[in-house]
Symmetry: D2
Subunit: 344 residues, 4 copies
């Protein structure tokens, strides 16, 4: 059994890690920590877990000591030092925060502020989006787990970008996210009466996930890609739908694109390429690690429109982190993640 | 592996059976049927299941033939004949409908219309609320699986009723249910714009679950109990909260009642008696087979107020049906049902 | 034009006062105040009001000086001193808080803590539930505007209580409220992901509205009434449904009760007694000052079950406050309040 | 008083017309009709209206006879014949359906099927989007009231298109609508449990509102415009948000665009151009005739991103229809429509 520690267990991503790991057949939670709730039981914070996980929140040090792999679900800027401790102690470290996601320190400084604490550490890290970078992840100990938008958007458009079927210029990611993506801390914007029955864009063309999506698409295409990214807030708990627009290259048919997607994703258990005529819906991936993709053709404007739906807390956070753990520990990638999304 | 067949698989209870049985370690779904969708795949009806369960809907006959146990999720009146076929063929039969729930044919006729198709069959059946009637269920082949309100309300008040701590006269069950309880068929009342942001009672003091709750409480107390039952419709997908009111008998203290509940439910995995100060919430049992109970004392009017929360589709339908299957097949009752409710 | 000032205009009740007064034909908002947002425009707090009400939040003193009548929507304990200033200055004062609602200082101390600042002031005040106490309100200058639960619950049961058709002992008010009743300040319980798809009781048999409901029912019946009151939190923005249970007195028929209600409410514009067979629904009173009441008979237990639905922010707060203003200024009670609830 | 008749009064648009006209100071509802509910009261269909509008549904003929202006809220294809009757009888006719919206019969045939019943009639009709075509509407008797998406999307981008500040090629309208847009008739997609907590695109690049948006943008720009239009379904009752993307022309600055919008909309009461930094939100326009617009600049890709929010049933249907009525009857355009959107 892999001994798993969770730092930041009382945030939403941490709590979701606990839920998923509880039914993982080859991992056991060895310790959890929380700055805000140290000394309290997780089930006091989340009564849903009562009797199933009544572990007490310990310190980060306890977690590191008791675990083979540490998942960190922390605000950005707080993971780098912890990562160094874990790696030095020979542990694996999977960061659900943003500290190791961007390879360029300049971009990190531009979008997040701050600098790289230890450049060497950053060179050891790998970006953990298995469907694209599985081979690099294998054998690593320091994983930068992607964000939610940055998982969903590239999955929607990757085959077309990688295979040169669409123009790289002018790609638009119009994304809509459930509110758990904004975290557990109450604020005016997520106060029930003000979010309920509402809908709006936010951080238009200025969200921090922009350079991360571009980094992935640039790697896949081999060229520097600039995108337009607009997130919106949905009055639902879970789920992201990315509607991605790209101009189809002259001479390429929609049928060729469809075929390319089928080939690209044919061995990917977690990607469900929907039959033509269906629409990806966040309703159908809730609580699971699936990414549903539907492809559409605007034949009048000759655009590819690809919709991808994930559960932002699973494939967009905790589930993907466990998928990465499975890879680096040599397990079947699906272990503990073959979860059937409920029908309603 | 137990071979399980599901008749009425495309309704909500049927679809939930499929979800839960898919991860059951000692059962496999052998066949499913649906009158409305015969010949179609379940995943065409519920795209959430795509790639996980793409079974085709066959006929009832196919299901009976291929299965050791048949779950029937049918409108009332349609199970009796099917039950006879199954029992004759030596199969187990678990009815999620109402046909075998009431022991009195007169009551059945009064509340549902129609008569008992085969009295002998009814005598072989047992009412499957394991927390109360486990010993009777063991060894049976024909199970009347309780309804949702009729699971939640008795669980809330049973210890007090059974042990004579409250007056049997004047018990009120004020219940609130999510809308999946009304089934998959669209109608005006469950049309999104008319239910959303709404709340109302329905079938006030005239709902068919009334005699079933009374039958259970009468069995537990040994006296004929008449209750007041008022259901309400919540604008949420899943969950029932029962708020049950009873007059505390003179000389009995709230602390004695609390202790009695603790003793009564101390070995019940699926019942979580919450610490004083907490309130049972449907949020905390979603997608799981748990029943959360909180006890409250109105010391001014000397009433016991017991709140019980379940997921109406799990402990209130499909989960409890599987719990019954586990019992009659000699498995640990929890098999396949140790599901952690998500924190959000 | 009546010059109206609002103290605490940026809370939900204050904001609703602004909305309703904006279309009041004989009142104009002279000034608004807010401790948290002083110097800011109301439309910065509520962008829905942009261009319609861009008034700046001033001080309490400004409000008092510029107004004929002051509405105070303040946390309890903060109104008494302000009331005294207003009354001394010859202004009318309508308190949407709890400071003047209870006539008994002992009860106030027991349920709220603190004491009556000025007993004389309390004697000048009147409890503003017009359907019952209209004659007392007329001519007064200091109005204690009822709370939301304390409007809805008595309206449901008043005729039966006043006319002695039900037992006064054992009345139960099982109430369900939308979340705006908890105010504008974000907290964990009203954080969208934790309230959405949830439902639970709170402050069971210990909510501060209990003595206020009892005071009203005691006045109506002429006897001291003790009730059981259990509030629940609905995942909707607006609305309260009160389901009230009472034992019908021997010899009284349900038809007599129905007739009594019809007679009692026949001239009340804001009370809509629904035809038999309909269920009061919060959906149908949203944004309006109506109270819909449906009557039901549990003939098996011989109980009256009365459901009443209001918009907690209108008839349960701001609308009723304006209704009171209309009375004390000699206007038609309906002025500015003939709002058609939207169909969806 | 203008005598107003409503054909199709029991659909959502019809019911919203009733709500808005009830408080219109210079109009009175003379008659209503409904094929499905003929002979029944409107308040039986919508109990929210009980006591306020208990009119009985009559025949179309009755409506035409009793009215100066007829609003028709009918499925497409059913308005043309009725329009002819009304116009022949000297009545004004405002069609909330699609029959008169497209000027090109070929486009009508392509997107809707069927042909123009009477070409002459079509030539008398005018497209009623007052902010753009007010001068044409004045004096007309036959108004094609725009659809919801087709109001919101052009309002978002019109100034930039009309003044040549953005490229006409490649405009994308990514729209999200509340579910009332799909009408009152229950179906699987709007069944509460399947829509709630879900989100998906539909009719991607194939929705019938596409040519209507293009027609408006072509008129404004003087060139044939082709757009990409993708609608999505939001789990809320009311509201549309259009997120519109366009490439800024070389040499044009975002500040110039901002100024152009300010100038373009400076006299438009119903358009609220939000200050920079704010995001248009459907929450803030609910139940009102406002269109909130926020402008954003993607400086990295040099795109204009304009968000526009309306209430799909008011500015997107019934409210705009009344705005058109006001124009053709020579009233102030705002009459009866100065509705403050509620803060929550």
């Amino acid at each position: 059994m892999i001994k798993v520690g969770i730092v930041g267990a009382t945030g939403y991503a941490g709590a979701e890690l606990v839920r998923l790991l509880t039914s993982h057949p080859q991992a056991e939670i060895s310790a959890i920590s929380s700055v805000s709730f140290q000394g309290q039981k997780l089930s006091e914070v989340y009564p849903a877990y009562l009797g199933i996980n009544d572990m007490e929140c310990e310190t980060q040090e306890d977690v590191v000591e008791k675990s083979d792999v540490i998942f960190a679900a922390l605000p950005h800027g707080l993971s780098q030092e912890l990562a160094e401790k874990c790696i030095s102690a020979g542990k694996a470290f999977i960061d659900l925060g943003a500290d190791f996601r961007l390879e360029s320190e300049d971009e990190y400084t531009e979008w997040y502020g701050g600098t790289f604490f230890d450049k060497n550490l950053h060179e050891q890290s790998v970006y953990g989006l298995p469907e694209f970078f599985r081979d690099n992840i294998n054998g690593k100990k320091l994983i930068a787990n992607p964000g939610c938008y940055t998982t969903c958007s590239p999955l929607a458009i990757a085959p077309a970008v990688k295979l040169g079927l669409v123009e790289l210029k002018g790609i638009i990611c119009d994304c809509k996210s459930g509110v758990t993506g904004a975290g557990r801390k109450p604020n005016q914007g997520s106060h029930f009466p003000e979010l309920n029955e509402g809908f709006h864009a936010y951080k238009v063309a200025s969200h921090r996930h922009t350079p991360e999506i571009e980094q992935t698409l640039s790697k896949l295409s081999g060229e520097k890609v600039t995108i337009t990214f607009v997130p919106h807030l949905l009055p639902v708990n879970r789920g992201i739908l990315a509607t991605v627009y790209a101009d189809i290259k002259q001479g390429v048919t929609f049928e060729e694109i469809r075929k390319a997607y089928e080939e690209f994703y044919k061995d990917e258990y977690f990607v469900r390429l929907l039959p033509n005529g269906m629409n990806a819906d966040i309703h159908n991936v809730k609580y699971s690690n699936f990414c549903d993709i539907s492809l559409h053709h605007d034949s009048r404007a000759n655009k590819l429109i690809a919709c991808a739906a994930i559960d932002n807390m699973v494939k967009g956070a905790a589930g993907q982190a466990i998928q990465n753990m499975n890879i680096i520990f040599g397990l079947d990638e699906k272990t503990g993640l073959e979860i059937m999304p409920p029908a309603f």
